[in-house]
Symmetry: D2
Subunit: 287 residues, 4 copies
């Protein structure tokens, strides 16, 4: 049986070890997101709403998650939606709201970028650029993010192998930017009771292969609010360097992904539980 391998490139020589390979930086890379460090002993929690909707929504959510122990604020201004008729995000107006909240709370910001033409503008507001699951193999976007000197949160494609995930990160590092965080966010399988199948084995696998920090997104990984706490605990136990969790001050009114967003109280209780798990494995939640 013939195998399927694309031909070896003729005019390009990959570095050995690859730039993402563990051998390139055996002690592990620390990514600095506006002063918050990810990749060390402490575990970092990123929280916030799926989409930026209003100043009030963002401010109340940001203040609450900060008080509970989150160190970075998430919130989407440009939203990749399967349907053109779903809410597409507030665009630059959303970025401006994020910047206001940053000033008011001091929380560093991560927000998604979907188009090479947006990178410069988004980078002028954000402390970290997120490249979403659907764009994991958007190679021009990866290259531009590599040229930009901002940290990048790269989410695993929902049907991408670990090898492809690392090669996607290699596109960014190959442009001279090693401030990359990898995020497992669930893969697509035959199972339909959860939105995706959160592949927690990806965490130890990635940690054995690369020096980059690895975090987990239990919100997209399950698509179910009630399941986020238990999968968050498992993600900490398995060795993740952080979590990114959707939190909304009023999940039932959210314009996007409310069914998988924690309320402020649920998030606060979860943080208490996560501290216990992190202590049990000899780590701490970054405070």
């Amino acid at each position: 049986m013939e195998t399927n391998q694309c031909n070896t490139p003729v005019n390009l020589a990959p570095p050995s070890p690859s730039r993402v390979g563990l051998e390139s930086n055996p002690q592990g890379t620390i990514v600095n997101v506006g002063g918050t460090k990810i990749g060390g002993t402490d575990i970092v929690i990123i929280a916030g709403p799926c989409a930026v909707e209003s100043w009030e929504q963002l401010f109340e959510t940001a203040m609450a998650v900060k008080s509970s122990g989150a160190k970075i604020l998430r919130g989407g201004a440009y939203k990749p939606r399967s349907s053109p008729y779903s809410f597409q995000g507030l665009g630059e107006e959303g970025l401006k709201l994020l910047a206001t909240i940053h000033k008011q709370t001091g929380l560093p910001l991560v927000t998604e970028v979907m188009d090479t033409r947006q990178i410069e503008m988004v980078a002028s507001y954000a402390d970290m650029l997120q490249i979403g699951s659907r764009n994991m193999q958007n190679f021009p976007l990866l290259k531009e993010a590599g040229m930009c000197r901002k940290p990048v949160l790269l989410k695993r494609g929902m049907m991408s192998t670990i090898e492809e995930f690392l090669l996607a990160a290699e596109y960014i590092l190959n442009q001279g930017n090693d401030q990359v965080i990898l995020c497992e966010r669930g893969i697509r399988t035959f199972e339909t009771s959860t939105r995706n199948t959160l592949d927690l084995s990806a965490v130890p696998m990635l940690k054995s292969l690369t020096h980059l920090p690895v975090i987990v997104d239990p919100s997209h990984g399950t698509g179910l609010r009630w399941m986020v706490p238990s999968m968050s605990k498992a993600a900490v136990a398995v060795g993740a360097d952080g979590l990114i969790i959707e939190v909304h001050y009023n999940p039932d009114q959210a314009l996007c992904d409310g069914h998988q967003s924690l309320s402020l109280d649920e998030f606060d209780r979860l943080m208490t539980d996560l501290k216990k798990i992190s202590h049990a494995i000899g780590r701490d939640i970054y405070l």
Copy 2:
């Protein structure tokens, strides 16, 4: 677009709620395996070799895992192997060795049954019958196991949905046997870096739907010895009622699955870590 649903049965009325449904026993079923109880607050660890090979192998492994805190011994006498040329197990000779070890160590036994014709004999040696992943929808075997008054460890099919898993258990309960433990052991996905993708979200999902205890098999779920500890910790953190772990006194010489078996020392260290995690979630390891 038409959907695909098999016709409603015409001559059979399912009970409402189903026998496996949480509503049938909201406080949760406790399964008693030769005196060891699974399904309560305490977490039970099942350990032992993939296959029974010899008295010495089984005795040394059993004594060690018992000393580390395992409460039930696993070991296969009949092995389902993809190739007819792989080691198929020792058969009844293996069962007799298991019975000897049971007398010498006091550990209850779980071993796999693959054929309706074997059930009576296997049940005469074992404290719990295992129905493996490949037989999850072997309906005659499920019915016979239901008629037998021994506990049943039912492993999820590697490409079975949660719904199919519960319906398979329903076949057993429908024969009057509610002593069933469900085991998540990894599903088949596109990812090839691990042997299977261990679907830890199945644990909270199952716990929300059924009163039956749920355990996890991190050995088959990953296929990688070095990954078993981290996934075991995650399984405890996510809420599993127990684990079933492959341990061999000499993994490199194992006749089956040595690459995913822990050594005696590795298992002992893992038990120490699992106790910490279980305490962090307010449970304990059954001792």
Copy 3:
């Protein structure tokens, strides 16, 4: 990264080439099902209801499909159903009905066997034993079918790779029975608009690897009556040696799988189209 390979068997030597390997019989194996030959230039159509329900149902369907050009009658007496509350088949009563119809129409019979204890009885009625998708890795059943001197129709597991499929067939051939037909019947993927994803590339792949005949089941492969004709044409065009198609004299009243069963008229029209396709590739429908 370590790979996941089960250990090489220590006490068994596989034949080289394997018994299913093309090199073992480069001209291809012809399977003789009660006088109908599968595996030669002519394409054989197997048709009939999902489940045997009554003499009238079976007789009317059998006479019609025979008249349209089907050469073998299918019909299940033992049905593997996900739920214990779905119609489970008529059992031996169904086999007796099949035998009656065989006498009245002359059509050879294929019917499913699910339990090692049933093989002898089923073989006393049937011209070919079917081992269904859920039992592809029911190794005791494969061995018993190998010891029985009847042809075996082995369906690919919905979760099984081509390699596992061939190894399952090897279990049968290894018992001295080379009268095995392989059947692609759809695999499980993330796509939900069809019941399964019919993997037609399995046909040329299998033909390149084994001497056994390969047929296709477009009924289970799609789960949609209206899609059966187009996928049947594709299956003939891709090189299948036959098809097995669910046909019912009154699909809307079928006790099982009516939504994917062709009516008698639909089947008759399809046969006309299949003849044209078979001529276009230099083959013929066996008449």
Copy 4:
């Protein structure tokens, strides 16, 4: 069990029926690619190399495939490659070579666009823009392609459901561009013997849901040169409106995907076979 549905958009109302829905144009849309019409009774074959490499390579391949009956030339100038160290294409130099060949052969051109910033330039050379599998949910790219008045060849994402595929096309049509061709190119499954699993059932499924033409890419769908002919025949038999096939004048020297490219002779023989199949289903190859 809660289900996972993103919230209904609050500020956008989808048209009913959707713009891609069959009801919007029941007689079917004809897409005009530089004078070649796709979507009518005739089947259109698109052929050419994976990547543009040189004038000689392109000219010899183009002349040969035209002579065999291909009506549109494919060739990539911008190549999406998993590794940054693989050949990335000749860029605009490649587009200029394509334009030269277009003048010399009269064949309309289809070539891939990966970045919103490239669309205007690529559209100035090409008769049809290809949006590749990895960009099927690159929503800014879809919107830009919709604003551009060139036909678009949209390939199904390797991880995308039929529903998501249609919604991606809706992004293009929603900008006022209905000149869209859908292309099934294989999905990712657990099976590894082929590069992807070509889902031919997608063809009748899509034809039942949308008025847009549907074509098949058997080269990426299988990743195996020897399997392309049989799957091409199946694709025509199942009802595809066209095929896009990788052909190279010297496959063993190709810089990209040579292992899945047909030689000029192989392509010529295939065209003869495809004509027979198309006649058998009452269609013809466009000449």
